[in-house]
């Protein structure tokens, strides 16, 4: 059997969780998922102008009986805070995968403040936070976190560590 990438296994976990809508703000760390979602006839990929739109999109999807995921970078978490009151208050599932910046061999200092605050800010806003550090269990963490979000109807974020994603190389 051909070896599949951890990103492909994460995508398979989203499919197994019956995700039907993927909202995203373009991000290099999510490039595989974004391309796969656009190529998938069973998934609707929606490019957003700002991350908070994806929370409202997911709420609308849930009201209509579909499951959504929001793909964003840690910098986008700061754009989301008040909109998180929507799934929290409505006791709706919310599921997001967050690629981390500012924590591992970060070149750009502007990414550091929000990267350092991401987990605390999400927790303070009522989101359950899980963290994936290694390629071998990233898909399992995504699958278990999606089950937590949709079966228990709570907001859940999986932080994909910058070490896992691979730090951006500005010398390239």
């Amino acid at each position: 059997m051909a070896e599949t990438s951890w990103q492909a296994r994460v995508y398979a976990a989203l499919k197994a969780a019956r995700i039907a809508q993927v909202g995203y703000v373009p991000d290099a760390g999510h490039a595989h998922l974004i391309e796969a979602a656009h190529a998938d006839p069973d998934i609707r990929a929606v490019v957003l102008t700002t991350e908070e739109e994806g929370i409202a999109l997911a709420a609308g999807a849930w009201l209509g009986g579909q499951r959504a995921v929001l793909l964003m970078q840690s910098s986008g978490v700061g754009n989301c805070i008040n909109m998180l009151s929507l799934p929290v208050n409505c006791r709706m599932p919310f599921f997001t995968l967050v690629t981390m910046r500012g924590e591992w061999a970060e070149f750009n200092p502007w990414q550091v403040p929000m990267g350092a605050a991401t987990q605390a800010v999400l927790t303070a806003a009522g989101v359950h936070v899980r963290r994936a550090e290694h390629p071998d269990d990233a898909a399992e963490i995504v699958a278990a976190s999606a089950a937590l979000a949709f079966d228990s109807a709570v907001p859940v974020a999986v932080l994909l560590s910058q070490r896992l994603i691979g730090a951006k190389d500005f010398a390239k």
Binding site: A20, Q21, R44, V46, V47, L48, T49, T50, E52, E53, G54, I55, A56, L57, A58, A59, G60, A61, W62, L63, G64, G65, Q66, A68, N82, M83, S85, L86, N89, C90, R91, M92
Partner: protein
């Protein structure tokens, strides 16, 4: 640009929401939520009491999930201004079954009637058109509102309705989000999904 709205918001909402059938309605926080509830508090209305700027995107997620049903977002100018980027997002996603009606009084009514950008320099219908909405309209009298009503149920239309800044008595629907979401999903028949 001046605020030239003269229409009564409750009369406008009653017209837009007359005989709604199975239409799915999402309302923006503040007065549009009260207006829709005053017209008829029905299970297929989903009222936002917060999440400012999110009404149009809730409408998009719903429209994509339920492509065979009509979705109408009824919101105010301040709420739409806060989610102005979603006009670009929705135009790009191009759902055929979603329409937005903005009750534009050029004021932030909930906070003391301060002037909004639509009473200063911004034309939201022109913004929507520039974002790629093929159909936009502005209504200034009840005849135009009557003409918009069927269009909002058949077209991917972004409509601005110039209403008077006069405030109406608050008509408060339920505000527990979990209750509103659950009754909506049950009425839609997706509560088990």
């Amino acid at each position: 640009m001046r605020n030239d709205g003269t229409l009564n918001r409750r009369a406008v909402a009653a017209t837009l929401l007359r005989n709604p059938g199975e239409m799915l309605v999402v309302t923006g926080l503040g007065a549009p939520t009260y207006d829709a509830a005053a017209a008829d508090d029905r299970a297929l209305n989903f009222y936002l009491w917060g999440a400012m700027g999110g009404a149009a995107m809730v409408g998009l997620g719903l429209a994509l999930a339920e492509p065979s049903r009509r979705v109408l977002v009824l919101t105010g100018d301040g709420e739409m201004l806060m989610g102005m980027g979603s006009l670009a997002t929705i135009a790009a996603a191009a759902p055929a079954n979603l329409a937005i009606a903005v009750l534009d009084n050029a004021r932030y009514g909930e906070t003391g009637s301060q002037r909004s950008h639509t009473g200063l320099t911004t034309d939201l219908a022109a913004v929507a058109a520039a974002c790629g909405w093929a159909a936009t309209a502005t209504a200034r009298d009840m005849g135009e509102v009557e003409a918009l009503t069927p269009r909002l149920r058949h077209e991917a239309l972004f409509a601005v309705i110039r209403i008077s800044a006069e405030e109406e008595a608050r008509h408060l629907p339920p505000r527990d989000g979990a209750h509103l979401a659950d009754r909506f999903r049950r009425a839609l028949g997706v509560a088990g999904d």
